[in-house]
């Protein structure tokens, strides 16, 4: 039994890219190559100059070709909140960001907590999704944190995993029953770790910024204490868990220690937590409001350390679209969440890779392994492999937000920031799913 990826598919692609820097740490690749894709399969991968490529090949000089990215944590708001995002716009946003696989969260309206609702979503994904997407089911009915859903049946239909994301499973007994039930569901449970008694469900971090603004802040202890608890439960039950959107230094340490003693735990971090701190909230711009909130610089540094040493397995955007009207409210009233699929790679590349803080090979590894905790394949670059590729132009400056978004929403935390480069081409499962207008050519 395994999770199912659904999408509309497309015509397998034929193209060549010459003189491109190919980076795929899993295949041991980092060099200049000529690459040919025929009928959606990588047929040639040769050191640059050795191959004879067609005249309409893409000149890849100044560009990086990587395995396309995968994201285990996106919100496509379908069903029920299609004014924020749809499967079609959400997957288009992912394609524009260089992704070939994403996993959608079930905190929709209604919640995806039954086999019937899950079937409906997978059917819509099969018609609308621009790239392959998986769907998570809820762990508890209505995300209420009390009654388990029919996880075994949902797994048979194709749920890639289970989560109550957006809400924590506060009751330790419920969490324990959920992970014991894994023997039937055979799927990883992803956990939004938050003790509401400590977080207060507050709008931002408890720190100097909240003190100055007179807003109640939430302590990062709300996250690390729950991670410690849930790793202990997973350890005792032999269960597999994935902890979502780490934000606090103590959380990173809790995961590191759990992994060291053999707990089956994986972890993710978001671009905004890797790049921003609570100071970004000082102007009360609601595009800096998300849950968990942005925390301190030492938390950010701990997340970067965790990314580098593998404590954090993958980058996940927690792409959380909201309409302008919903975000144009006082900070406390605005909903949590920011978009991220179209800026994840370049934002981290500029701030951490270009400045020598994170090696490119590490970033590529963490951007591509997001679906691994849920048993889905990791895209790789090798002859004979299906083409799951992203081409990134390192010298194509733009200002974040200019030219709009493929996403239906614009609540991105980096609006106004100057970026050095951009994704210009994405292939998912052999099909060209995104091409930037500046690259020329046609699909």
């Amino acid at each position: 039994m395994s999770g199912r990826l659904a999408w509309r598919g497309g015509t397998p692609s034929d193209l060549s890219i010459t003189s491109v820097r190919v980076v795929d740490p899993r295949s041991g690749l980092d060099g200049t190559f000529d690459v040919t894709v025929a009928t959606g399969v990588i047929t040639e991968l040769r050191p640059s100059g050795e191959s004879t490529t067609s005249s309409d090949a893409i000149d890849g000089s100044g560009m990086i070709l990587m395995p396309a990215f995968t994201d285990p944590h996106v919100h496509f708001r379908t069903p029920g909140q299609e004014h924020k995002e749809t499967i079609s716009t959400g997957t288009a946003s992912a394609a524009a960001g260089g992704y070939c696989q994403v996993i959608a969260m079930p905190n929709t309206s209604p919640v995806i907590d039954s086999p019937e609702i899950l079937s409906g979503i997978l059917a819509r994904a099969a018609e609308e999704a621009v790239i392959p997407m998986g769907q998570m089911g809820a762990v508890t009915k209505g995300l209420g944190g009390l009654e388990l859903t029919e996880m075994a049946t949902m797994r048979q239909i194709g749920a890639v995993g289970f989560t109550d994301d957006g809400m924590p499973i506060v009751d330790a007994g419920v969490l324990r029953r959920a992970v014991r039930y894994q023997e039937l569901s055979e799927a990883t449970i992803a956990l939004h770790e938050e003790d509401p008694a400590l977080s207060l469900r507050a709008s931002l971090n408890e720190g100097a910024t909240s003190a100055r603004l007179g807003l109640a802040g939430g302590s990062g202890l709300s996250e690390s204490t729950m991670i410690t608890r849930d790793c202990a439960i997973a350890e005792a039950e032999g269960a597999r868990i994935h902890v979502q959107h780490l934000s606090d230094a103590r959380s990173v340490q809790a995961v590191r220690e759990a992994k060291a003693r053999g707990v089956l735990v994986t972890a993710e971090a978001s671009p905004h937590h890797l790049l921003l701190t609570e100071e970004a909230c000082a102007t009360l711009d609601t595009r800096t409001k998300m849950n968990p909130p942005l925390r301190f610089e030492h938390d950010r540094q701990a997340l970067i350390d965790g990314l580098n040493d593998g404590t954090i397995d993958c980058v996940a955007t927690d792409h959380a679209p909201h309409s302008d009207g919903e975000k144009e409210q006082p900070f406390e009233d605005a909903p949590f969440g920011v978009t991220g699929l179209e800026t994840s790679f370049v934002s981290i590349y500029d701030e951490l890779v270009a400045k020598g803080i994170v090696p490119l090979s590490v970033l590529v590894e963490r951007m591509t392994s997001g679906c691994d905790p849920f048993g889905l394949p990791i895209p790789t670059i090798a002859e004979g492999q299906k083409a799951n590729l992203v081409l990134f132009n390192t010298n194509s400056p733009w200002t974040c937000g200019e030219g709009g978004w493929a996403s239906r929403s614009s609540n991105n935390a980096f609006v106004g920031r100057r970026f050095s480069g951009r994704v210009v081409l994405t292939l998912a499962d052999g099909v060209e799913v995104y091409r930037h207008i500046g690259l020329g050519g046609s699909r």
Partner: protein, 311 residues
Amino acid sequence: MNDLLTIEQLGRSGIERILDRADEFGGIAAREVQKVPALRGKLVINLFYEASTRTTSSFELAAKRLSADVISVRSSGSSVEKGESFKDTVATLDAYDPAAIVLRHPRAGAAALMTRWTNAAVVNAGDGAHAHPTQALLDAQTLRSHFGSLDGRVIWIVGDVAHSRVARSTATALNLLGARVVLCAPPTLMPPMIGMALGCETTHSLDGLEEADAVYALRMQHERMRGGDIPSLAEYARCYRIGLERMRPGQVLMHPGPVNRGVEVTGAAVDSPASLITRQVSAGVAVRMAVLYELVAGSELATPRAAEVAA
């Protein structure tokens, strides 16, 4: 200056400019006709999402003494209660073409947000526990009148610092004017890092209060007990109530009002000559006249000073 949203935006020179003008306006109250024509024909709207008799009446009086037309809109009984959004309410009021809108709102940042939706000058009359710049100005005015200068003076602000916009704005203003501010609160009502954030010392004890030139008691709200921040008002009072027995001669007492006698401050202290509380109230009108004048008339007049006041 288009709007008054925070005290930080003014800086020391901006604060002093407004206080100087408030000094001039302060003389008007003593005249037979307590009015100047500075804002004749201009509309000032008070938009209050929280009840505050004291602040609304102070702004109303300030606007009237400048000869402006004034309307006050309260959330109670208005379209706000029928579910109209903040943005739509502002758009509706903006259609009257006001020169200034004075906003009291329970959410931090509300006044700054409102500037997106109106061309009127926005005066923040309290946004959540964030800022209350005109309170800070009237507090500074009261202390400056009493001491002459605030440079080197020590002011203790005692009470529920966590939920107090007054503490934040007043501490900032007094710091900018050269005073040293000490925040004193129970640990559960003192947000972590607030000392660093505001540039103040912090303490959980009244020990050392004798160093203060002025003691500023904050209102302790009864709902704080329900939230579990303090076990009881009685215990709070035992630890933090300001009474004459804790004050040394020469110290002055301030309070933003309304006072809970016997909780954060004793009745005897409120009624004593050390209390500047009623002087804060009268300073409030003069300071708000100066703010409205600067925001509305100041942008149109090259030398908007003594000539108008003398009229």
